[in-house]
Symmetry: C2
């Protein structure tokens, strides 16, 4: 097999930081090359550490973990970033993933699973804690009890794609007035009176 997986840990809590370092360092094929208490500390020399995987906490002094992700990406274009945190808010998770994190583990994750996830992420996987995976999957799912009919949902999707009434009419092979009528009914059902509000309400209720 190849050389050790090089790991850097960024975590402000000393106990946790050293705990991880010890845990991972003991595992065959893993090498903790450095660890930092903050991103701001890490920024100076992490490029020289040349890690394959960065274990990153969210709550950090100074630059927080979310903000740190794109900066790390610039310093280490080929490294994978694995979030390891107690934060479980939907917003935080999606921000982390959108910013380029390759995995998201919560701190209750068993030690073996953490070590395993580091390998997984290096091999192109996307490790997630079970609760995180649930939230991620839920984010894909539509509301089953939508008040909108199929046609209305379809038209609302096109509206969310920025299409004008006439474009929608052309695309669906129906009359302009029909589109208008559908949109009116959508507004009625969602209790809104503009495209923007319709899209907002629809997204909030996962209708589209």
């Amino acid at each position: 097999m190849g050389r050790d997986i090089r790991i850097v840990i960024i975590e402000d809590d000393q106990i946790i930081r050293e705990g991880y370092a010890l845990l991972i360092g003991q595992s065959e094929g893993y090498q903790v090359v450095n660890s930092y208490v903050s991103f701001d500390e890490a920024a100076k020399s992490i490029a020289d550490d040349g890690p394959d995987v960065v274990l990153l906490d969210i709550e950090l002094p100074g630059t927080n973990g979310i903000q740190a992700i794109p900066k790390l990406k610039r310093l280490l274009p080929h490294a994978y970033i694995l979030i390891l945190t107690v934060y479980e808010s939907e917003k935080t998770i999606f921000e982390a993933l959108a910013n380029g994190a390759s995995g998201y583990l919560t701190k209750n994750t068993p030690a073996i699973k953490i070590v395993e996830s580091i390998r997984e992420v290096k091999e192109g996987g996307g490790p997630m804690s079970v609760n995180i995976a649930r939230m991620v999957i839920k984010s894909f799912q539509r509301n089953q009890e939508s008040p909108l009919s199929r046609r209305e949902t379809q038209i609302l999707e096109q509206i969310a794609d920025g299409k004008s009434r006439s474009q929608i009419a052309r695309d669906l092979f129906i009359d302009l007035e029909t589109v208008r009528s559908h949109i009116k009914n959508i507004y009625l059902k969602l209790d809104v009176n503009s495209r923007a509000d319709a899209i907002k309400t629809a997204k909030e209720n996962k209708l589209i």
Copy 2:
């Protein structure tokens, strides 16, 4: 602990179907209550089986797995659906999750992992194969080399939310003309000349 987890398998390949049944039936706390070769077969009596978890294949004769998900949901509002398939196309995965699947495993998944995933899904988790998780996470990630500036990206997001120029101007505390100017530049950079095309191009390239 509680009673056994009740499982129904829908899978057209006899070897695989019986293999799963045997594998899962042997595990402590798991009970395969029935298995079917297609959804159309299952539809008749699956409600009487009262499963907690349905293992569902995608490629099925008649109603395919994707189409079957919402129908299963109606027949079994409280059951979890776990996709177990060889299909790994992005479209299929997202359709399955959007339709209400609670997990997505590929058939190369080790036997132990399958059994574990059934429990996980019943406990509210969202099990995924590593390759699936990678695709799901990737779907959240933005294109790092966006040609758009921050402000432009922000404004394009608002456009995708259906907002008018004046609404955007109000929300960002800038002049209407500034918004106009930004939109012009967005159109230039994306080589489009309408909101709809801008949104389309942006989504295709994961700029928003």
